[in-house]
């Protein structure tokens, strides 16, 4: 079994022995509170920390769980344990419902998502206080029997919370290491790119929201019995979400265990001051700690360690470079080239028919009908603003076409979300590289191999990623963060990511712009090799030398319309193309 998982289980077993040690009851409630906050902080982190959608509405899921148990056990006399599944399920459904609406609106990110979820908290609170669920006076659970797990009711509640905490830790850890976790981290760094690389972003966010809400609801259900008296004012206030955010940020929200570290620290701090009869000072201390952490350690305690590790890796790669152990030129290709279809193959890979894209009034792409043959390199030319990048954005699914259709390997792709386009075998690069900034170089590539058309598992993807990094000459940078790369290395990282997904069609958007002549030579060589591996390439380029060297055929766009297709010589002598570039001659 995995070392971390056995560690979590062992810690759980040790903590489970506490009630039989004969400690004063005060320790049980203290330990209960720690478990309580650890569950809340870790569950919050599953959506907010991993995917970057910071929710200020965690209190609503906690509160709905609390009221589910409160109303069912306190008012309808259900046995306590029978209420818990619903205390998890109802908040999960609420989370999915909320997410289904909110995640469709692209603008609601960052602080706006935080505000919206906070607002939902108060709306739900108002509904609960005005309906028979509460009705105003609050719900009493004094008469509800505590299930007997330990020697006393207090210890039973502690054991129950401990059980849920261990489960939460296991879920948080496994999720982070799973494909879902990798996808959520990609969403965190750049959601659009994640989608284009094959991450089903909408579904992943919903799933994370559901898991996160369910665990918070479960914590609420148990807490209802712990406090025995549930009121709207005490439940749906800003304290729960803010404390949880604080704990996670303090501990580090990029690590599954970060929130737990923060939760233990803050709970102890608060308890220390409350026990010292100075709760006001405790509150102020929490405020000061929060300010200090945000200013000096914006990534939290665990984030600080993660960063240090990345820095050390960067040091090592710099040392390697300095020692001259890294080839300046491209290394030898190790992978065996796939048989290349004979030049002039007419097997159609991609066919667009009347493909159009309009932005409000601007017709960026108008009725483009183009075929791309298997195994060829097609250059896409045209003046600035002629629709080349739009073509790539539409074919990769980033923009939905406003008209026309396109078939890839005989399958209609128009209208599919970008991640399905990626999974069907189309990869792209960005003109301005958009790596996932907080993932290391190799993680960036692994991610592409896992989510692209290759759909590899993690070990396979790691192997493939290493090959791709070797192929693009970035192997020595594998453990660095993208910030440590220069422009040309970042462009090659884009290529490595596109390659790792084993695409049948690669769309390259101005890979060569901003490169020096010798870097361009390297890149041309690299693009040739990508084709020799069996990929078909469509590339947008302004560097004519590269177009001449690479393109089997070229297509010219102007004002969104396709002007001409054919061999370089044919197209360049086409009078319409000449006038598009040089203007019409005055007669």
């Amino acid at each position: 079994m995995n070392k971390t998982i056995s560690g979590i289980l062992a810690a759980g077993l040790v903590l489970a022995c506490v009630p039989w040690l004969g400690l004063p009851a005060f320790y049980e409630s203290f330990l209960y509170l720690i478990c309580h906050w650890v569950i809340l902080a870790m569950s919050w982190n599953i959506l907010s920390g991993y995917s970057g959608y910071f929710s200020f509405g965690h209190g609503v899921f906690f509160g709905v769980g609390m009221y589910t148990t409160g109303a069912l056990a306190g008012k309808l006399d259900w046995p306590f344990l029978a209420t818990l599944p619903l205390a998890a399920l109802i908040p999960a459904l609420l989370g999915v419902l909320l997410g289904a609406v909110v995640f469709r609106v692209k603008a609601v990110r960052g602080e706006l998502f935080a505000l919206l979820t906070l607002a939902v908290t108060f709306v739900v609170a108002t509904i609960i206080i005005n309906t028979p669920i509460d009705g105003g006076p609050g719900v009493y659970l004094m008469a509800v029997e505590v299930p007997k797990l330990g020697p006393s009711p207090g210890s039973s509640l502690y054991l129950l919370a401990l059980l849920v905490m261990v489960a939460t830790a296991l879920i948080a850890y496994t999720l982070q290491k799973s494909k879902l976790g990798v996808g959520l981290y990609a969403i965190h760094d750049d959601e659009d790119v994640a989608e284009v690389m094959g991450v089903p972003t909408y579904g992943y966010k919903l799933l994370a929201f559901a898991v996160s809400s369910a665990l918070a609801g479960l914590a609420g259900g148990i807490h209802a019995l712990f406090v025995q008296y549930v009121t709207v004012g005490e439940t749906f206030n800003i304290t729960v979400p803010l404390t949880v955010v604080l704990m996670s940020c303090l501990g580090g929200s990029r690590h599954w265990a970060g929130p737990a570290v923060g939760a233990v620290f803050i709970t102890c701090l608060l308890y220390y001051f409350t026990a010292g009869n100075n709760p006001v000072l405790g509150k102020a201390a929490v405020g000061v700690v929060l300010i200090a952490v945000i200013l000096f350690m914006p990534n939290g305690v665990m984030g600080y360690f993660l960063k240090r590790r990345a820095n050390q890796a960067a040091e090592r790669s710099r040392a390697l470079e300095a020692a001259g152990q890294v080839h300046a030129s491209l290394p030898v290709v190790v992978s065996t080239p796939a048989p290349r279809p004979a030049p002039g193959s007419t097997e159609v890979l991609l066919e667009t028919r009347g493909l159009s894209k309009a932005f409000k009034g601007v017709q960026a792409l108008s009725e483009v009908s183009l075929t791309v043959h298997k195994g060829e390199i097609l250059g896409l030319l045209g003046p600035n603003g002629s629709g080349k990048s739009t073509f790539i954005n539409v074919v990769s699914g980033h923009y939905a076409a406003t008209g026309g259709s396109y078939m890839f390997e005989g399958r209609e792709l128009a209208g599919l979300p970008a991640h399905q386009v990626a999974q069907s075998g189309i990869a792209r690069t960005y003109q301005i590289p958009r790596p996932f900034a907080q993932m290391t170089v190799i993680e960036n590539v692994i991610m592409a191999a896992m989510f692209g058309s290759a759909a590899m598992n993690r070990p396979q993807a790691t192997e493939e990623a290493m090959k791709c990094l070797e192929f693009t000459g970035l192997k020595h940078k594998a453990e660095s963060l993208p910030d440590d790369l220069n422009l040309h290395q970042r462009k090659f990282l884009e290529l490595a990511r596109a390659l790792a997904s084993r695409p049948r069609l690669v769309l390259l958007d101005e890979v060569l712009s901003g490169m020096t002549p010798s870097e361009i030579n390297e890149a041309i060589e690299l693009i040739r090799r990508i084709r020799d591996q069996g990929s078909t390439i469509v590339f947008v380029e302004h560097v004519m030398r590269a177009v001449m060297a690479l393109a089997d055929r070229v297509a010219v766009l102007n004002h969104g319309k396709l002007l001409a297709v054919g061999s370089v010589q044919e197209v360049m002598s086409n009078p319409e193309v000449v006038s598009a570039y040089l203007g019409k001659a005055h007669a």
């Binding site: 607002a119 108002t126 005005n130 105003g136 206030n237 604080l246 509150k283 102020a284 929490v286 200013l295």
Partner: protein
Amino acid sequence: MTLPSLNLLMQSILSGIFIGSLYGLIGLGLGLTWGLLRQINLSHFGLVFLGAYLSYHMATVAHIDPLWGLLILPPFFFVFGAGMQWVLARFAITPFNSLLATFGVTVVIESLIQSIWTADYRRLESDYNDMKFKVGSLFVPIPELITLVLAVGIAVAIWAAMRYTDLGKALRAMAEDAPIAAAFGINQKALSLGLAGMCSALAAIAGVCLALTFTLAPSQIFTWVGVVFAAVMLGGLGSPLGPLFAGILIGVSEAVTMAVASPSWAPIVSFSLLIFMLLLRPGKS
């Protein structure tokens, strides 16, 4: 649900306008720092309450007319706000982290208030409390009227300053694109400090109005967050007049909900408005 009499409804709408102007006044400073400096300054609420407690203290302990607070407090708050901006700018804080850090400041202010004035409810007793006059069958209380006049006056003054003065144009250019504005000779640092200071001074003024019209308790700080955020979002970030209009709209709809349904339903109005605003707003932030 019972239909209230016309007179009661009119009185509700009037009180909605009054409370809405306070939402707008608090939201003015918040929205300006948010829109122009990209900082979500939660401590604005803490400062408003600090201002309110200080004017309470001046009136009940030192027996100074609370309206003097409008002149005495803002300079001190200006210095505090500018100082805080200096620190936040030094650490190049992201909008989201500014929310967290200023929440920390708010918690410290709340603790400070609680340790000086306790957690009990405090009410500023002054001659203004019972002053009101009658227009037709409607009562117009003086403290509320002062709030409305200040809110409208300040919002219009800031709107005019941002539109017609060079300083205002510089501010707007800076909000649009700070590096480019700096390249055209705008002293971004000084402007930011000044703006943050001014917004904090506005918090002091809003605080005096709050003390004149409301009962104070430290725990109340966060109850204002939601509704004022709603006013700011609805009115537009960085807009001087928007929060006032939106605040009054929210205030009136709350007051009518209270009169028609029950007071406990009132929060749903502002928060539903906020949710719909966030969901339906066009793409730009």
